[in-house]
């Protein structure tokens, strides 16, 4: 296989339809600036969002352009909307908590290598729409959720796509973490 990493090649790679020899050839190829566009084309075909998909956030989550010009994190399996990419999407997920040794052993099989009950908890973040497992955290009890990836959408548009930055409610799109403001709305009652 000597084909450059086109949308078809990338689709085959992500669906494991390639031999290791073919993968190795892609690994060795020169990385070129058109990759983002090719990948975008592959994602437009592979997800329910068509050309509205902007960016892949994780295995199942995408930043999607909405009709009103805003951006939303959505599940690629069922299109469930998680909200503004500047808010940790985990706040809009379902979460299953494992705390006991028996619950840990369902995943890690051997007692001797499991996390410590009473200290650690395993959080499984699930899509509320299709219950796909989106992320796993093994953290101390009481640890805030990890906000793994906050893309700077303004720079994505300007630096990668060569377009003007998207508008925000106040004008120019602002790159900032808005997770704490979102939690604040829950109140403490």
């Amino acid at each position: 296989m000597s084909e450059r990493a086109s949308r078809d090649v990338l689709r085959d790679l992500e669906t494991s339809r390639m031999s290791w020899g073919e993968v190795r050839e892609i690994l060795r190829q020169e990385k070129t600036p058109d990759r983002f566009a090719e990948y975008h084309a592959a994602l437009a075909e592979a997800t329910p969002f068509g050309d509205d998909v902007l960016l892949r956030l994780g295995e199942y989550l995408y930043v999607v352009r909405e009709a009103d010009g805003t951006h939303t994190v959505r599940c690629g399996e069922c299109s469930h909307a998680f909200g503004d990419p500047r808010v940790n999407w985990k706040l809009s997920a379902r979460v299953r908590i494992r705390r006991t040794l028996e619950e840990f052993m369902e995943i890690y099989h051997y007692e001797e290598v499991c996390p410590e009950p009473g200290i650690a908890e395993v959080r499984e973040y699930l899509c509320p729409g299709c219950f796909t497992l989106l992320s796993v955290e093994c953290v101390p009890i009481g640890y805030p959720p990890v906000f793994e990836f906050l893309p700077d959408l303004a720079s994505v548009y300007e630096d990668i796509l060569g377009q003007s930055a998207p508008a925000d409610e106040d004008g120019k799109w602002v790159f900032e973490d808005r997770t704490l403001q979102a939690v604040q709305k829950w109140g403490t009652a």
Partner: protein, 739 residues
């Protein structure tokens, strides 16, 4: 001749003046102030031939000199490195091997410069300088030993040949090369600040006497020193030949351009390969010292939780990556902290794996990333009395978080083939054996250092024994070699451990299990277990790119006073861990006691007839296990990589132990997976509901004391962590003060 007392080593400048001069030029944003690369641009073929010449010099030195060493760490696993350095200690060309260390070499050179070594003890042709003190040298831990030989051309000082290797024993309070129980620098081992240890390419006798008296593996350590000197001599000779051919002026220009070229390619790769933004990943490790050293070092009589949090900021406009470690745990009186050298070494390795494509590996890579490590932080201690016994354990976890941030970003840009979940690991076994004939020796056993599982990628499973991320030329070593250098210990088995991985659509590489028996030849033995795989109370990383399950921790299990030696004498030999477990269950293998150690262990006494088992080096998965191809799960069961119970419970593929199903496999899996999704729905809650429950636990003081102490320490050290923690849980002022 320059280099004599009173002279300027570099003609116009002392060594320190030269370092300051270069730093000033580099503060322009371009290495050595080079805004263009004239030698490369004018004649790229000659430029590449020159690089080949100096690169061949360091590669040839490595491949030849390692045969001088007796230690299997160097000879068998290739845990060594040679490099050509500029006068300031910046690497121009490095061999394969422990490549990350080139990032730290300049720290030792700066120390020698700041302390006037060019006047006293002088820096002259053929001089040998060796060092292994982390605070002054850049060596991450005392087991990593550096040797430098100055490079002169016709009496002009023009650089250094450098060699390093991971030695077998560092002479600490507990045996091995990575002492995990070490409250401060004085228990770390034989720490040598940069020291002239020989001249005319011959070591002084006193150095060997020091190795004999202050380390537990003198024969290996002496031969390793000879290996480093031999390799450095080869570098000097080969580079001198290259200068004869290309000319001294060309050498001076091209060595600077090679470093700047690499910095530029890294910066261009940031622009090409990544998506701008911020990523955060975190790992947790526990350091249990309470009850270990209390009587003598009460400041170390506690259990710590290490918060290894990396925030990566990517600027694709400037081609710049910045790492913010403002939420890291403070330095403390235990062995898992360190100094600047461990940062620079890890940094280089992570750059190599992420944005280090298509370049000449050298110090230009360290210039491509900026970072903030707070004063008093885990790897920037408030004084030089802190231990750096075992920072490779904690720092690899920290830097996995750094790498994870770049992996997410590369995947988002579309470079799928380059992404993995960055859940890297290693496990070390070390100790000291005293035979009944009185012979005593210390050791490192590197089966699980030389080859770890690879993390899962977005398109394939991780592989067992597939990588040593810090050493592209590594190997697990042969059992026969290890038994030869570790008399008294028998290998019982060395296998992958089924289902020992993080699961996912693509599962992590399976970890390894090693079982050993202590033979009758042993009077007494001490063993320890360390490594980046040892999260102890937690998984290797808290969460990983791709969203799969992170890797389980490593573990050490000891069976006391077994009848294994009698069984061996009868010709019975267990074929692996599974058979050993059957023997235990059937009563064939008897024992008096069983101990479990998920934590790092510094010194555990074992005796003839004891069995100890170490499992480690598992990696994390990628994606939802319910999305794994059904036939891949069945094949895993058939080949013994996962048991049928895990296939059913985790992957939703109900098969028997042969990997077969009683009905259509696809239909059976579809039904079982639908059932698991319903269970996920029933057993989960909205995050807001979870937040309200968890918040009450945080506010009410119901957390275990260990975690209360840990949060208090973090909140006290890191203002940004304190603010986010308090605001996330909406703690009032009183609650914030208590947390």
């Amino acid at each position: 001749m320059t280099g004599l007392a009173g002279d300027k080593l570099l003609g116009q400048r002392t060594l320190l003046e030269q370092i300051e001069y270069t730093d000033e030029l580099t503060s322009s944003g371009y290495y050595y102030g080079l805004r263009s690369l004239p030698r490369k641009e004018q004649d790229p073929i000659t430029y590449e031939r020159f690089y080949d010449a100096v690169h061949s010099a360091v590669m040839g030195a490595r491949e030849t000199s390692k045969n001088v060493a007796a230690s299997p760490g160097a000879r068998e696993l290739g845990e060594l490195l040679f490099a050509l350095l500029t006068p300031e200690g910046h690497a121009v060309a490095v061999s394969s091997g422990l490549v990350g260390h080139q990032g730290a070499f300049r720290i030792a050179i700066r120390y020698m410069a700041e302390n006037g070594y060019d006047r006293n003890p002088q820096i002259r042709p053929g001089d040998i300088f060796t060092a292994c003190d982390p605070a002054t040298t850049g060596t991450p831990h005392p087991g990593d030993v550096y040797t430098f030989v100055p490079l002169f051309y016709k009496d002009e000082f023009i650089g250094w040949a450098a060699g390093m290797n991971h030695t077998m024993e560092a002479g600490g309070a507990v045996p091995g090369a990575w002492p995990p129980w070490s409250p401060n620098t004085f228990t770390d081992g034989y720490l040598l600040p940069p020291t002239k240890v020989g001249e005319d390419y011959e070591d002084y006798t006193w150095l060997y006497k020091h190795f004999e008296r202050r380390t537990r593996a003198p024969m290996f350590n002496i031969l390793d020193q000879k290996m480093r000197v031999a390799g450095c001599r080869m570098v000097v000779d080969s580079v001198t030949e290259a200068i004869d051919k290309f000319g001294l002026d060309y050498f001076k220009d091209a060595t600077r351009e090679i470093i700047e070229e690499t910095r530029r390619i890294c910066s261009d790769n940031v622009k090409l390969l990544t998506v701008p933004g911020r990523s955060r990943f975190v790992a947790f490790r526990t350091v249990p010292y309470a009850g270990v050293v209390d009587g003598v070092w009460p400041q170390s009589a506690k259990n710590w939780l290490l918060h290894l949090h990396s925030e990566v900021q990517i600027d694709t406009r400037e081609g710049q990556v910045h790492v913010n470690w403002d939420k890291i745990s403070p330095a403390n009186w235990h062995a898992q902290g360190g100094y600047k050298g461990i940062i620079e070494s890890n940094l280089w390795l992570n750059v190599m794996d992420t944005i280090g494509l298509g370049l000449k590996p050298n110090s230009g890579m360290n210039l491509a990333v900026t970072y903030d490590m707070p004063e008093g932080g885990l790897f920037n201690p408030p004084n030089d009395r802190h231990s750096a016994g075992n920072p490779w354990a904690s720092s690899v976890a920290l830097f996995n978080c750094f790498g994870g941030g770049l992996e997410v970003s590369k995947r988002a840009r579309g470079f799928v083939e380059e992404a993995w979940n960055s859940d890297l690991c290693w496990t070390g076994i070390q100790g000291e054996i005293t035979l009944k004939n009185g012979f005593s020796f210390g050791f490192c056993q590197m089966d699980l250092l030389g080859a770890s599982a690879t993390p899962a990628r977005p398109y394939m499973d991780g592989e067992p024994l597939g990588t040593a991320w810090w050493n592209p030329s590594s190997d697990t070593g042969s059992v026969e070699e290890w038994e030869y250098v570790l008399p008294g210990i028998y290998y019982l088995s060395k296998n992958v451990l089924p289902s020992y991985c993080g699961h996912g659509r693509f599962r992590g590489g399976l970890g390894m299990q090693l079982a050993f028996a202590v033979s009758d030849e042993v009077q007494e033995a001490i063993i320890g277990k360390i490594g980046a795989s040892t999260g102890n109370y937690f998984t290797g990383q808290a969460s990983i790119p791709g969203g799969g399950y992170p890797a389980p921790t490593s573990t050490l299990i000891v069976y006391r006073q077994t009848n294994i030696l009698e069984l061996l004498r009868q010709g019975e030999y267990p074929g692996g861990m599974a058979e050993l477990a059957e023997w235990i269950e059937s009563g064939k293998l008897t024992y008096t006691d069983r101990e479990l150690h998920k934590e790092e262990v510094g010194a555990l006494f074992v005796k003839p007839g004891d069995i100890y088992i170490v499992a480690g080096n598992a990696t994390g998965g990628w994606g939802d296990p319910l999305h794994r191809a059904v036939d891949a799960v069945a094949l895993d069961v058939k080949e013994g990589f996962i048991p049928a119970s895990v296939a059913d419970r985790v992957y939703g593929v109900p098969v028997d132990e042969t990997g077969s199903a009683t009905e259509s496999l696809e239909a059976a899996a579809e039904a079982r997976r639908a059932e698991i999704r319903r269970d996920r729905e029933a057993s989960s809650v909205s995050f807001e509901e979870f937040w309200r429950t968890e918040r009450e636990v945080v506010r009410s003081g119901e957390l275990p004391q260990f975690l209360t102490d840990a949060y208090a320490e973090l909140n006290g050290f890191s203002p940004s962590f304190r603010e986010e923690f308090a605001r996330f849980w909406q703690l009032d002022a009183e609650e914030e003060a208590q947390s």
